[in-house]
Amino acid sequence: MNATPLALVGYYEPWWIQIIKAIVIFAVGLQLVPVVLLAERKLLGRFQSRYGPNRVGPYGALQPLADILKLLTKEQFRPTTSIGFLFVLAPALSILTAVAAFALIPFGNVQDIFGTKVGLYGLDVSIGPLYLFAFGAVAFYGIMLGGWSSGSKYSFLGAMRGAAQLISYEVSQGLALLGVIFSAQTLSLTGIVVAQKGMWYIVPQFFGFLIFLTASFAETNRAPFDLTEADAELVGGYNTEYGGGRFASYYFAEYLNVLVVAGIVTTVFLSGWLLPFGIHPPGFLDPFIVLAKMSLFTFLFIWVRATLPRLRYDQLMSFGWKILLPLATLNALVTAVLVVVTH
């Protein structure tokens, strides 16, 4: 019997290149997170008319290092009411899914490196967005299990909110991507980038872009949708009982998720490594173009965090289901009709 594969993975690379790519992507992700962490604190400071951290190292550049050292040298603590192995597993799950999603972001097209053809991405699957949402759904177990196994009311409430929020906004996020998928006629992320040669999808799919961005804020648990860790009412939300290295894992996953979302928005709406006006830079610049576009969105994330107050829980739910979801559906429908009419 001939088994058909679940997804077509366009692999023509030798196995050792895949291993090197996996290491490189993990290393790059690991290096980017402290940068985003520092950028967030510095920029939040500037948005509030103050300097951010500026004591450790030049311009506070070593602050993330100091933070991580401090967290990693702390005692590993766990409440007596917690469920041991889940409590330990949950942060690891969060990191795992974030890194797995990071593998999907295309940093450039297939390059010829010393005679070997290498695609500058971890994976180019024919089910790109589906893979992404699959890992997004698993990522919510990281929050859910962490909050539940802590054996604390605040953690539990935070986790419940997180579960409801992630489920509600995942729908709109997926529907917002549908418009792009209709237009590009492919589910491969590199295919979507190449399909934007003529025009970036941010122009024809502007509403889809806005909806996707809003839903992404909720998916990454960032302000103004950071109800899972609403400090004012839930102490710290799902990670109340976490400290030290495990808390660092959650923190790492959160910022990596911001990067992943920035990367996906770049890929899907800003045409990844392509530049407008027919500029064709040499291939080795592709990752830097993608990183520059990603930093744009990371800046937006921080900017929004500095601006918008947290939503009330019922506002969050009614916004997700009554406004975002109908708009996303309408956007997908209109795009579908237009695609059929114009073809």
């Binding site: 500037r46 948005f47 008319s49 300097y51 900017w303 918008l308 009554k322 406004i323």
Partner: protein, 177 residues
């Protein structure tokens, strides 16, 4: 029978509730407005005063650590050991022991001088009554405010310490600042 509130009812005037589309648009507009506001802050220079390096300037009438004064021409102490400051002090933190001036040992301009003049700054409330009580303007409130120490006994300032110039000048605020 229900109670009638009579004339005390306040009618609240409300604008008509916006429709769904209108409220979405309004929310979007307000969000953009908020973003522009924070971006305005982003473009400004921070207002933080980097404290240990950069000090907050004080007003000329700021009541900081006390200073004892000498006459500029003769170098004699202004304090004559009258203990009026100690009498005026509500916190009871000034101790003055007076001694007679002799022609061989002339310390102050008057008949007597303060042999011991101590201010316990851990008790001082910086009210400035000593300054007002002093008939010779021998004691005034200075501008120093960095007075923390590791030991309470180190906060008992002696006459020599109060007569000496402060190690570092506290910046003064300019007119209208």
């Amino acid at each position: 029978m229900s109670w009638s509130p009579g004339e005390d009812v306040i009618e609240v005037q409300r604008a008509p509730a916006p429709g769904a589309a209108r409220s979405v648009w309004r929310t979007f507009g307000e969000t953009v407005r908020g973003l522009m506001t924070t971006f305005g802050r982003f473009r400004e220079t921070p207002v933080t005063v980097q404290y240990p390096e950069e000090k907050t300037p004080v007003y000329p009438r700021f009541r900081g650590r006390h200073k004892l004064h000498r006459f500029e021409d003769s170098g004699l102490e202004k304090c004559v050991g009258c203990s009026l400051c100690a009498a005026a002090c509500p916190a009871d933190c000034i101790r003055v022991v007076a001694a007679e001036n002799t022609p061989e040992n002339r310390v102050s301009a008057g008949e007597r001088y303060a042999a011991v003049y101590e201010i316990n700054l851990s008790r001082c409330i910086f009210c400035g009554y000593c300054e007002i009580a002093c008939p010779f303007d021998a004691i005034t409130m200075g501008h120093d405010y960095e007075l923390s120490d590791y030991d309470r006994t180190d906060l008992i300032f002696t006459k020599e310490m109060l007569l000496a110039e402060p190690l570092e000048r506290t910046p003064l605020r300019n007119e209208g600042e």
